[in-house]
Amino acid sequence: MLSVVVFLPVVVALGLAALPATSAPRRYTVPWVVTGLVQLALVAIMWLRLPAGGYGFVEQVAWIPSAGISYHLGVDGLSLPLVAMTVVVFTAAAVYSLREDRRPKSYVVLFLALQTVSVGVFVALDLILFFLFFDLSIVFMYFVIAGWGHGSRARSAALTFFLYTFLGSLALLLGFILIYLAATPHTFDIPALAAQNPLAAGGPAAGAALLAVGLGLAVKTPLVPFHTWLPPAHTEAPAAGSAVLAGVLLKMGTYGFVRIAMPLLPASWRQFAGVVVVLGVVSVVYGAMVALAQTDLKRMIAYTSVNHMGYVLLGVGAAGLVADSDAQARQLATTGAVTQMVSHGLITGALFLLAGALHDRGRTYDMGAYGGLAARTPRFAGLFAVAAFASLGLPGFSGFIAEFQIFTGALGATPVATAIAVTGILITAGLFLVALSRMLLGELRHPDAPGTPRPFPDLRARELAAIVPLLLLATLIGLLPRTLLDTIEPASRVLNELVAR
């Protein structure tokens, strides 16, 4: 079943590849949307049948037995919400792209391939399988940015993205090999390694492994100072690409921390949890401050991603400070971190699609070029306001649930760091309010450059159908968090037991 969920998009992509390239865009985009909906239905069934403990829907087939590699898939409370979020974001991107007319065939085929590897990362229970999906996500994203990016700088942005994240992924691979060699018998299997805990004693080997794995994940997350690839990549990518990049691909980094770094290297994680916390807080504050200074809407959203991923790191770092906090607080922090990943995926996905809709109308992301849009385009203004409030962590939205849990969980262990991180919320609140007042209020102003469509229309049905569900889900999680938290909590309890042993 899990394999079907993972590989369905690729199978559809292979079918679409047989169609002639001159077909109408809808012949490609409609099947993409349908694929997403089918996947969503399958994920919903899995959610209902998820076992209370351990991994569900496990599939294990020997792949390269002599090297301890197997094709091992499974979901638990940490990964299933992310899988669901991934499919939702991709489906929204598909709906948004229904009318994509620039080489629609390659576009849809690439995104379907990306969809497979993105789901694959979250369900892989073998380090090499994880790496395979992780690496391929970079390759496919490179082609999305280079092929459908906005400007002439798209290619250099794509190259920066590829080189940077590829360096990270190779560091990751070296870390995996260190863990593999420490285990007896040698294996890349994540549950087996977690049970065996080969590097329980800590020491330089474990430290080196954590450094390599942490570096690889930090580039992908991205944490300051490894974030420099993110703003150009986001700015140049097409709207659906940005939504997927921020919504899904960044989570691969943070998910790697909870799936690999914490359970497989618990001793080193406890030892260096303080460093993780500091990195998280630096990302929170730095991301927020730089976002405040942006005039380009997409760059601003990109930097808030750095800020939001910082909260996740604060949460998982606090979970490693075993000596200073009780089990309940650590569990709260971990659950909050996972919730934050889901929440950020939904909200940032919506924000980037909104930014894309704005670009379609005004051909620029410069916030100074817009003003008074609330009167002209009420639907856009309303949704943008909702997304902005959700993103800054207003109660009633998913972001609040996530950040509240992270702060509560981390406060006991690291009061100072948490206090500093809270200022990040204040800054993001400020920057979103500034952006709202600049673009939505005041005198009506929109770009009048040659080539822009004359009437500045409001969001169309297609755009609404892509963006509204994302925000609706974020609100639902904010109002009724139990459904999500009941799934995450058992898994985060297990995770914390693994870290604390």
Binding site: A62, W63, S66, L132, A171, I177, L181
Partner: protein, 468 residues
């Protein structure tokens, strides 16, 4: 103790290659030019017979035949890799060599070069190794000059002169090693060296390695690689940068395992050569605009990765499967990359602009091969690199693994420089599509597909390489 015998039937793969080459010349002489296709069919049949014989031989326990030729997993694997590579190149080069005045010579020379490469890998005696070295060199000198245009003549001369120099050095090394050890057979080498002086042995070993490094295109004997690759047709370049390399690297492996680390500290030497090869190859590839020169430097860096495995050969049991798998993966991917070049008249990176529109399948094959050379999963070279890094860590050369990883990222840069324009829209349509080769195109797609299949099916292949 391995079995000894003098049974000629153990050499059927080699004899088939030899017979194929001889028949290719004879039949070629008596065949009209436009019917020369039958020569290629004959050669492919010979390769097929050799492959089947290899498959049968691989089921038997390891043995030594005629006292000097070792039949073990390494030999069988190299036979299979070389034969598959030869068959692929002979097939996809059809359009390039068909109706050429020296078509049958091409076939014969490729078969002889393949025979030399296989013999190098199996040689268990220094004298046989040198004979095999010559057999892998002389036909390939001729092959380098096969097209007989201005650039190929220069390439052939350069290849020949470097080869002659390397050969003399190697022969001197062989003599000296014989003097130091009192034997030329690998099995008695360790014992002989233990009683002799260490210093001459070290000098001798370096000299022999110099010859093999020339064949493998490793630093510091790599100077011929870019000029020869750029100066010869892609089909010839594919042969020269793939087939002798495989044999030479396997020969280095076999020779070094016979020399005790305690007498000559070769792991460090090989590690340094590996480090320089991959770094220098990558750095030199950065600025290239000719795709053939770019591929040439990329092969130099690939040899570096293989040498990483050889550096830890004696220290970890994981080295042997890693080496053989890497060689197989490299052969397929490299042959595929050269097939892409052969399929298309473009020779500079800029000329590849817009290929993605006109020839989408060829463009995908190019991307698979180039990303394969980088080592992106699930291609075969990824598994090769994974096993190589693992072996390096396990063999206590973590620094080499880290350096190899850094180099991998660096190599991504120039491969992407080539990939990026392929999918860029072209300013104007090309004048005409002359010079495209259909067989090379299908060859490229086949090789790319095989490299992915080998990567995915690594679980089935690796155990075959593990048993000694």
């Amino acid at each position: 103790m391995v079995m000894m015998n003098e049974d000629p039937t153990t050499l059927v793969p080699e004899l088939a290659l030899l017979a194929g080459a001889v028949l290719a010349v004879l039949v070629g002489v008596w065949t009209p030019r436009r019917r020369q296709g039958r020569v290629r069919v004959l050669a492919l049949l010979a390769v097929g017979v050799a492959l089947v014989a290899t498959g049968i031989a691989a089921t038997k326990p390891p043995s030594t035949t005629f006292d000097t030729y070792v039949l073990d997993t390494t030999t069988h694997a190299v036979r299979a890799i070389v034969l598959v590579a030869v068959a692929l190149i002979l097939w996809w080069s059809r359009d390039a060599v068909a109706a050429h005045p020296r078509e049958s010579e091409f076939t014969a020379l490729v078969l002889l070069g393949g025979l030399g490469a296989v013999l190098m890998a199996g040689a268990g005696d220094l004298l046989l190794l040198f004979a095999a070295f010559l057999l892998a060199s002389v036909p390939l000198y001729a092959l380098a000059g096969w097209a007989k245009t201005g650039a190929t003549t220069e390439a052939a001369l350069k290849y020949y002169l470097s080869g002659a120099f390397a050969g003399v050095t190697m022969l001197a090394g062989t003599t000296l090693l014989y003097g130091a050890a009192g034997t030329t057979g690998y099995e008695a080498l360790a014992e002989g060296l233990a009683t002799g002086a260490a210093a001459p042995a070290a000098v001798a070993l370096v000299a022999v390695l110099a010859g093999l490094a020339f064949k493998a295109g490793a630093v510091p004997a790599h100077f011929w690689v870019p000029d020869v690759t750029d100066g010869t047709p892609p089909a010839v370049a594919a042969v020269l940068t793939t087939i002798p390399k495989i044999g030479a690297l396997a020969a280095v492996w076999r020779l070094l395992l016979a020399v005790p680390e305690a007498i000559v500290p070769w792991p460090l030497l090989v590690a340094v050569i590996a480090a320089i090869s991959m770094t220098l190859g990558n750095l030199a590839a950065f600025a290239q605009t000719s795709v053939l020169r770019l591929l040439a430097y990329s092969t130099v860096s690939q040899v570096g990765y293989v040498l990483v495995i050889i550096a830890v050969a004696a220290r970890t049991p994981q080295a042997q499967p890693a080496l053989l798998f890497y060689l197989a993966a490299y052969a397929l991917t490299n042959v595929g990359a050269f097939a892409v070049v052969a399929a298309h008249p473009a020779r500079t990176i800029d000329e590849f602009q817009g290929l993605g529109r006109r020839r989408p399948l060829l463009a995908i094959a190019l991307v698979v091969c180039l990303l394969g050379l980088v080592g992106t999963p699930p291609t075969a070279v990824f598994v090769g690199k994974l096993t190589a890094f693992t072996a390096a860590f396990d063999g206590g050369m973590a620094w080499l693994a880290v350096l190899a990883a850094v180099n991998t990222v660096a190599s991504l840069f120039y491969y992407l420089r080539w990939i990026a324009p392929v999918f860029r829209a072209q300013a104007q349509e090309p004048p005409e599509d002359t010079g495209e080769s259909r067989t090379a195109r299908s060859g490229a797609v086949t090789a790319a597909a095989l490299s992915v299949v080998l990567g995915v099916a690594a679980g089935l292949v690796l155990p075959l390489f593990t048993t000694s």
